[in-house]
């Protein structure tokens, strides 16, 4: 451009009434002085085609709205599941009987978690709130005027501490009950109501497997969890379950089986250490060699479950958002389509603008800005529409699904990205038009 003296001194012009026309133009010929004007041109042409602009935006609106609402609902559901698990406690380790890979050879070894194992674990004096062995079985509970099939859980008093259970009426299973293998039972709130009606259960008797048990307590409603309602269960001393109801003597006849042993750690951070200490003890007690043979028990670490569930829910959220993202993509293609039509329609206008001095980047900018404005506006509207469902759901108390800043950023960022990506090609087509041909275009 060195050969081009753009501000060559104007030729001396005849003085006329309209002499301003013959003064040198005070202009910076930089490309960006006119940027704002180019943006104005873009807005003008979008407003001139309101219906078309709106229809073009529709794809982006739907895309962004679904991305926003799915992200918010997904995050809300994820937080809710995490919350439930945390309510149960992230400090819980559950050891259950049976091996995950039972070969044909050790099928009998499946049921060999015993009361003595639980006592041995307790003897370790680990930093735990409690060690709670339990034996679950499902049985028919028969009351005077009703009967119901329910989970009967044989427990020790430690179970109440480990699981934060509170009493509505009466008391929980005591140490005396445990020692004496007494025929007493504590009912979940719903179960008590189903069998006896409201507030009538305490002191009544029920029959399970031809044993009569006295109701000594009713729990306060715990509410549902992801694993079914706790209020439908009944609790009895584990000794009663082992000796009187379900005959859980070990095959060698020297002890009693338990279904699982639950440890509640004082610090959740101790879980991994606890897990390896307990596993070591049990392998020793079960005479498993150090040659890598499989455990004949399972240890479930609540923190691990939480981690796994978090992974699953965030995967689900991402998956749903990706599906919604596809509609955003389709919206982007819609923008490209309309922009291409628009470029063809306005070929003469482009030719004229170039003929009178518009350079390629001016035209490029004009059409890119149009696409970006379309998609950004669509993104904003989509964000507002997409916020409605999460807000309503939150207001109704179904799920706490807040629209966070990250979601807003993703929505706006993606819609702008879509506009720029799909706007570039039509804009380049426009910028490359030859003014002579473009001016002749009909």
């Amino acid at each position: 451009m060195t050969t081009l003296d753009v501000h060559a001194a104007p030729e001396p012009a005849p003085v006329a009434a309209d002499s301003i026309l013959f003064q040198p133009i005070t202009a910076s010929s930089s490309g960006f002085g006119s940027l704002w004007e180019v943006v104005r041109i873009s807005f003008g042409s979008l407003l001139a085609n309101k219906v078309r602009s709106l229809l073009t935006m529709l794809g982006v609106i739907i895309g962004v709205a679904s991305v926003v609402s799915l992200l918010a609902l997904g995050n809300g559901a994820s937080a809710s599941i995490t919350g439930e698990i945390e309510a149960i406690g992230t400090n819980i380790l559950t050891i259950s009987a049976g091996s995950q890979n039972r070969g044909p050879g050790n099928a009998t070894a499946a049921q060999n978690l015993t009361m003595d194992d639980a006592k041995a674990i307790e003897a370790l004096q680990l930093p735990v709130i409690g060690v709670a062995p339990q034996l679950n079985s499902s049985a028919q509970i028969v009351a005077k005027s009703a009967d119901k099939n329910a989970q009967i859980i044989g427990i020790t008093p430690a179970f109440q501490v480990v699981n934060n259970l509170t009493m509505q009426q009466g008391s929980f299973i005591s140490d005396e009950h445990l020692q004496g293998a007494n025929t007493v039972i504590v009912l979940g709130a719903t179960l008590a109501k189903d069998l006896f009606g409201n507030g009538q259960a305490l002191g009544q008797t029920v029959r399970i497997n031809n044993q009569t048990l006295r109701v000594v307590g009713v729990l306060t409603p715990q509410g549902g969890s992801a694993f079914g309602s706790e209020d439908d269960r009944a609790y009895i001393p584990i000794t009663t379950a082992q000796k009187r109801l379900f005959n859980a003597r070990t095959p060698d006849g020297n002890g009693y089986r338990v279904g699982s042993i639950t440890l509640s750690a004082i610090n959740a951070s101790d879980l991994d250490a606890l897990q390896s200490r307990v596993s070591m003890l049990l392998r020793e007690r079960h005479h498993l060699k150090l040659d890598g043979s499989a455990d004949d028990f399972n240890v479930i670490n609540q923190a691990e479950i939480l981690g796994t569930l978090n992974t699953i829910t965030s995967m689900m959220t991402l998956f749903l958002a990706a599906v919604a993202g596809i509609s955003l993509l389709v919206g982007g293609i819609g923008i490209m389509n309309i922009m291409l039509v628009s470029v063809t329609e306005r070929t003469r206008e482009i030719g004229l603008r170039k003929a009178v001095g518009a350079r390629s980047h001016h035209i490029l900018m004009q059409f890119v800005v149009e696409a970006a404005v379309l998609s950004m506006t669509g993104g904003m509207i989509g964000l507002m529409l997409g916020s409605i469902i999460p807000i309503v759901v939150t207001q109704l108390g179904v799920l706490d699904a807040p629209i966070d800043l990250q979601t807003v950023g993703v929505a706006i960022g993606f819609s702008l990205g879509v506009g720029l990506f799909f706007g570039i090609y039509p804009a380049q087509r426009a910028a490359k038009l030859n003014p002579i041909d473009a001016l002749r275009h009909e």
């Binding site: 104007p10 005849p14 309209d18 133009i25 930089s30 003929a355 002579i436």
Partner: protein
């Protein structure tokens, strides 16, 4: 002001090379009023596109207002067009949804002229062509002659070195044609603006001070009226 030396222009049409211009040379002085005449296919439109910096010659030299423009890139040509040339088209080529004022301002946008100066210049140019009372009208509210006056104002507003008019009366009736040609002649005489126009009508060419005649890609006549 304009100097063309031994300009050749060859187009490829399919397998055939078409020589649109075969060694055209002429100069146009500042303040002149020149008509380029010739039948269709004579190469007059090609000459006009070259002078208008919309196209570059295959060979030859073209100097416009002291700038050698024959080998500039398309973006630099656009810059030259914006700064040194004003265009008037047969079909006016006004933007349909914009007022006369906005239409006249439009080319200056691309030169980075401030809004206030653009408006002052556009109003002055519209006054000069007698459209000062209709600055807010849109093209569809104006007659053909009025639209062409707006187009002339658009060409004038940026203080071009040369105004190029391609069949400026081609879409107008004879009475309006006379008005437009009178206007161009007045601008040339009173304001000293250099005007180059292409036409195939002798009546129109008669307004010019000098007539260049083309045939088969060559200049065959150069007369002063």
């Amino acid at each position: 002001m304009i100097s063309l030396r031994d300009i050749h222009k060859t187009y490829q049409m399919g397998d055939v090379l078409v020589a649109a211009l075969q060694g055209v040379s002429f100069s146009i002085d500042k303040g002149d009023f020149v008509a380029i005449m010739g039948p269709s296919g004579s190469g007059k439109s090609t000459v006009m596109n070259l002078i208008g910096c919309l196209d570059t010659p295959t060979s030859g030299e073209y100097v416009l207002d002291g700038v050698a423009v024959d080998q500039l890139s398309s973006n630099d040509l656009a810059l030259v067009r914006g700064q040194k040339l004003g265009f008037i088209f047969q079909q006016y080529n006004l933007l349909p949804r914009q007022s006369a004022l906005r239409n006249v301002e439009m080319p200056m946008i691309y030169r980075g002229v401030s809004g206030a100066e653009r408006q002052r210049r556009a109003l002055a140019a519209l006054n000069l062509v007698g459209m000062g009372q209709r600055v807010d009208h849109r093209p569809n509210e104006l007659s053909g002659g009025q639209q062409q006056r707006v187009a002339i104002a658009r060409a004038l507003a940026g203080s071009p070195s040369v105004i190029l008019a391609d069949e400026p009366t081609g879409a107008l009736d004879s009475k309006t044609s006379i008005e437009i040609m009178e206007l161009l002649r007045r601008l040339n005489r009173e304001q000293g603006i250099t005007v180059v126009l292409v036409t195939h009508e002798h009546d129109v060419a008669a307004y010019a001070a000098r007539v260049l005649t083309m045939r088969d890609g060559q200049l065959i006549g150069d007369q002063r009226n």
